[in-house]
Amino acid sequence: MTEFRFAVNVVPKPGILDPQGRAVEGSLAHLGVEGVSGVRVGRRVELSVAAASEAEARATVERLAQELFSNPLIEAFEIDALDGAKAQASAAAAAGGAR
């Protein structure tokens, strides 16, 4: 068994009213930022799955994304694989950015 790490990004489907996105967009003027539109606010779930292969792990994540993390009536999702090397690289970059 290997542990695979994924991120599931859930966003409101196109056309579904997103009051949070609208509120965020409405606040941009207070920051003095112009030219930003189409703000949609969603959520991101990260998780590790122990499985024999990445395909098998991904199938589990697909199921969770459909049944739990998103409501298919109103939300769409995308699954990203977060491999260890990538995670370490981004952590290093974050640490570097903090210096």
């Binding site: 579904i16 009213l17 009051p19 949070q20 959520r43 739990l68 993390f69 409501n71 009536l73 109103i74």
Partner: protein
């Protein structure tokens, strides 16, 4: 006496009020803990308001996977009477037991105030004793009550008489869409409550139990609870322990 269960999730906060309202409506009202897999012989089940499992992820979604909800889904599948109030409506929608979804209120704010609704059907187990369409005055208390379904589903609900309650203004006229204060959360077609196609599972955002005693300022919700209890008494199942 007709036994009606009120499910108690961690985070439910209207369970006591709902038990009391059902007692006023003539039921033997019993709490049903979320970890139990049976409904204790209840002839009807109410999912009360609150914030089941903290409303984490999406309101109602985690409650959907609790042991008691598997029992509720099986009960509903056999034609058992189920009513979801506020957070209970959100749970039913997430579980797919009633159509549609409840989105964040269009105005973004949590709303706690009285609203007026009319009953669009008076021939259901949830409205048979309401008498007239209304308007009925009941409180709402929610942050995610904006009823949503796609246009085809909405048309189907209207056609099949599945719209159970609708927000109305002071004159009893259907509330408008966005921006009409009579439609507190911006629900599509001013829908405040729906019933499933079979007619045995219903959900609504206003709280009938909070309008079930004159001391609470309105008794308009009591006939809804009475209707449920009365229908449940006719659907009375064999009580637990009766078979010998």
């Amino acid at each position: 006496m007709t036994r009606v269960g009120v499910v108690v999730f961690p985070g439910s906060n209207c369970d006591r009020d709902t038990l009391r309202g059902l007692e006023l409506a003539g039921a033997e009202a019993v709490p049903l803990w979320h970890e139990q897999g049976s409904l204790d012989g209840c002839a009807a089940v109410v999912l009360p308001g609150g914030f089941a499992y903290g409303d984490y992820l999406r309101a109602g979604v985690i409650a959907r996977f609790s042991p008691v909800m598997r029992a509720v889904a099986a009960f509903a599948g056999e034609g058992g009477l189920v009513l979801g109030i506020c957070n209970g409506f959100q749970v039913l929608a997430e579980a797919g037991l009633v159509p549609g979804a409840l989105l964040r209120n269009r105005g973004l704010r949590f709303l706690g105030r009285d609203v007026q609704v009319v009953a669009e059907r008076l021939d259901t187990p949830f409205t048979s004793l309401v008498g007239e369409r209304g308007p009925l005055r009941m409180p709402i208390a929610h942050g995610e009550g904006c009823y949503f379904a796609d246009e085809a589903t909405l048309d189907g609900l209207e056609r099949d008489g599945q719209v159970l309650f609708r927000y109305v203004d002071g004159n009893g006229m259907q509330a408008g869409a966005e921006g009409d204060p009579a439609n507190p959360n911006g629900s599509l077609r001013a829908i405040a409550g729906v019933v499933n196609a079979r007619g045995n599972v219903a959900g609504l955002m206003p709280h009938p139990e909070r309008a079930s005693d004159r001391l609470l300022g309105s008794e308009d919700g009591l006939p809804i609870l009475r209707s449920l209890v009365e229908a449940a008494s006719r659907a009375q199942r064999v009580p637990v322990g009766a078979a010998r």
